[in-house]
Symmetry: C2
Subunit: 226 residues, 2 copies
């Protein structure tokens, strides 16, 4: 209902929508690679694994990038979403904790290709310093502040054991990192304004286990013979 100027780009996107934008971006990249010029909300929604009404609602928060009766221009929409997320620019990232998972993250090609550049790998263990992982020297954790300042790092990844994670987070925040991706199985407390997302592998498995148990367990639990 409210008139929108071209500079007022419809702020305040719901969290649930923000979390799906990267999924749409990936689907659009797939369509672009398949040389698809145009797609309907129905097609894009299918590729992204969501309901088309939800897709249209989500996109409506960004602006009006489709054409009624026609659909969306794949390349144009792809760019608009990338711009909205912020992945048209390059984000310097620091990874702390170069164990098995840190190794895997450092080598993960999906970061590079989506606008993230790993500028440093840090580890508190001196025996790891100097090791080269994914073409990058592992450096002492104490270099954190210097590296964050030098590269303007806003995003830090924690792949340390749980006991170290809060300390690492505190140091990151003090150094100026405002967003943290936490792989350590622990709850981090951070000041207002700092964003933490957590990826917890064993929690994901536990959620699955619950559902397996439900599916099988009904028989067992109710002891209802046929």
């Amino acid at each position: 209902m409210t008139a929108r100027t071209s500079t007022d780009a419809g702020r305040d996107i719901p969290e649930a929508t923000v979390a799906r934008l990267p999924v749409y971006l990936r689907a659009l990249t797939g369509l672009a690679e398949a040389r698809t010029a145009t797609c309907s909300s129905e097609e894009l929604a299918a590729a992204a694994g969501v309901n088309s009404a939800m897709l249209r609602k989500d996109l409506s928060y960004l602006g009006s990038y489709g054409t009624r009766g026609v659909g969306y221009d794949v390349e144009y929409l792809r760019y608009q979403i990338a711009r909205e997320i912020g992945v048209t620019q390059d984000w310097p990232v620091v990874i702390v904790g170069i164990g098995n998972l840190g190794h895997a993250l450092a080598n993960y090609s999906g970061f590079r290709s989506r606008g993230f550049r790993v500028v440093a790998l840090l580890d508190a263990d001196p025996s790891r310093h100097g090791e080269v992982v994914a073409g990058i020297d592992v450096q002492p954790f104490d270099d954190l502040e210097e590296i964050v300042a030098e590269h303007g790092v806003a995003i830090g990844v924690i792949a340390t054991p749980a006991v170290a994670a809060q300390d690492v987070a505190d140091r990151m925040v003090a150094a100026g990192v405002s967003s943290i991706l936490n792989f350590a199985p622990t709850v981090l407390s951070v000041p207002e304004g700092v964003d933490v997302r957590k990826v917890d592998l064993s929690i994901e498995l536990q959620i699955l286990a619950y559902h397996v148990q439900r599916k099988n367990g009904i028989v067992e639990a109710e002891e209802e013979p046929a």
Copy 2:
């Protein structure tokens, strides 16, 4: 309002609650290790990083395991949640795709300690067969059906490149796997009744990037000089 017998354990737990139960379980394990016998919903909620009203509501779906005026018995509640999730038993798990991430997952100690047992590591690449990772031989992907049948595997982990993931999922489902944890950056389609959870590292970073941009971008976007 409805009377509950001891065998009717209050089914139908909301998804959001299910996803938090493992977090509570971990917090309780932490309290138990610290020799805390009893805790209030306030304390447990703080340890889990949630609101205490939400914690109590969540726990109320499991049953009535606290004591008014007193709180919860840590060990007792820990066991009840573990039982509800299903991690009092052992879950055999298969990991497919033994690249960097597969290595990290195979070595992840958090699985073992939480009731998950990696029974096989599979990879389609013959050059990887016979390699020993985390004490387990890497086997051909074609052994999948045999392994699933032999160990009664219900949970499969996909850590392959995106292009292979759908095929792997199809084979897993056909072999009898009913729950899949997918690390490949692609949308899987599976039949009704099969559960898929996805962990997408680059999507997590993109969500963070969006928020960083919002925090910084407001200045830049609105061009509002002080």
